[in-house]
Amino acid sequence: MGDDMLSMLRATRPVPDPDELDDMAVVRAAAGEQAAARALVETYQQRVFALVSRMLGQRDRAVIEDVAQDTFCDVFRKLRGWRPDGPARLSTWILTIAARRAIDELRRRRPEPIAAPEAVGAARADEATRRREVVAAIELALAELSPELRAAFLLREYHGLEYAEIASALAIDLGTVKSRLSRARAALRVALVEVHDE
């Protein structure tokens, strides 16, 4: 096969996204095929756990697992409604569901106190301790945000969603997303500077 033919094929067939499950597998999963359903879970479980665990912060691991599980149950229930040629990639669609589940969980439960970074001596400030301090600072800063903006921040900074996708997923006005995310970044930057300067 010549280079011209190959390039033409590439032009007519979209290159599969290695981070996304292929469309046929999605269709088979929606039809109830066990192997395809397993592939879907295994493809997206890390991203779902990442979002949910960051959303819920220091909550019990069991709660995080339950929310992730409920997310996938929702995904399978609604999967026939997702269109490969629609506006959202499958990962975006699944993360949207995960974000909503996490927001529901945050609203359902009373906010848990976020532990402030421990004051430690310089001699004990090893790398692990430093990491815990950074994480605590980030969580403390994000705890000031509403659940929707917290989700918006995580979807933007850790999962790379576009502003429009975030606004659509969370049913927030696009301008509001931009302005509030800007303020969230500023607050987080201050927190990071404090950790960095210690």
Partner: protein
Amino acid sequence: MSDRWTDRERELLARWTPLEPPTGFADRVLGVRATSRAWVYAGVAVAGVLAAAAAWLVWLRDEPSRPNVVVAPAVAPVRTGSDLVVAIGESLTVHDADGAVAIRFDDHGLCRPGMRISVDSGPDLRSPRVVADAITLTAGTWWYLVDCATVTKLDVAPMGKITVVRDAATRPLPAQATAPIEVAADGRTVRVAYAAKPPAIAFTSKLPCGRCVLHVLPPDRGQQVIEGIQIEFDGPRAVVAGDRFEEGAYSWWFEHDGARDETSRLLVEPDDTAAQIQIDEPRQAAGWSGSDVRVRGRMLPGWALADLAHGPTAGGTMCEAASACAFDVMVARAPDPLVLRFTHAQRGKHYYIRRSR
């Protein structure tokens, strides 16, 4: 302040490592999914059963307001008029030349605006009910159940059996047997069918009877010897009058000097196919149209022409003769149809219908 992160800030943000999914998380999700699907299927099944039950209840609730509908191929409600009025709970046989009779149930005015009638070929009455005062029954045996369409309760047993026979009652009556029926003590079973009354039976023994004893036992009554059937006589043959028998199965044998015949059986049964009533006048479709009508015919012994359901009493005379009796009465301003009611102690009530047109 810029919205872009510095490299140092990115490095700090990257230290926030998320939770990893536990081992076997996919299995857990798929297990929950299978369980939830099973619950969904069970829920759908339960919902289906509930919906069917609700539809059935709605159907029951609305049934009284439905128009008259055909219950079964042989049964249909009658909108106006009827051939015969039947007391609720009554069981009877109707003889009609066409084999189709419109029957109205007499509720003594209790059920207004109407009755719910269920008719079926068996006593379980599984056919749907119709709301009507009268129904048409075709040839066959039908069980019926009647109750009021309203909450009114009938104070009678609302169930009965009606047999419709396609019979113009023009067949000649069978002659009563004059000679006794011969049966031998050979161990076999003999069936004797009778139209009106059991005939005389002549029993014959194989024993060298000088002075034999005949035993005739109705088996349904155990080993008790019925008085009068144990007969001592001279010779191998004994004749027992027909009025000593009734419908049933008998065992019988002769006994002599300690020896006895093998036991034989005798089945005495009414012949349901034999004509019982013969109506010579009025003839079917004679066109009397309200004028006086002569009712003439014959009936077998045991029958009584009780009265005329739609006119003056025409008799009430029981035929007690050995052979058939004649009846001959006038009915003034005879209705159409004319219904002749006959009764018999064993055969029950039989209504014979004659139509003017």
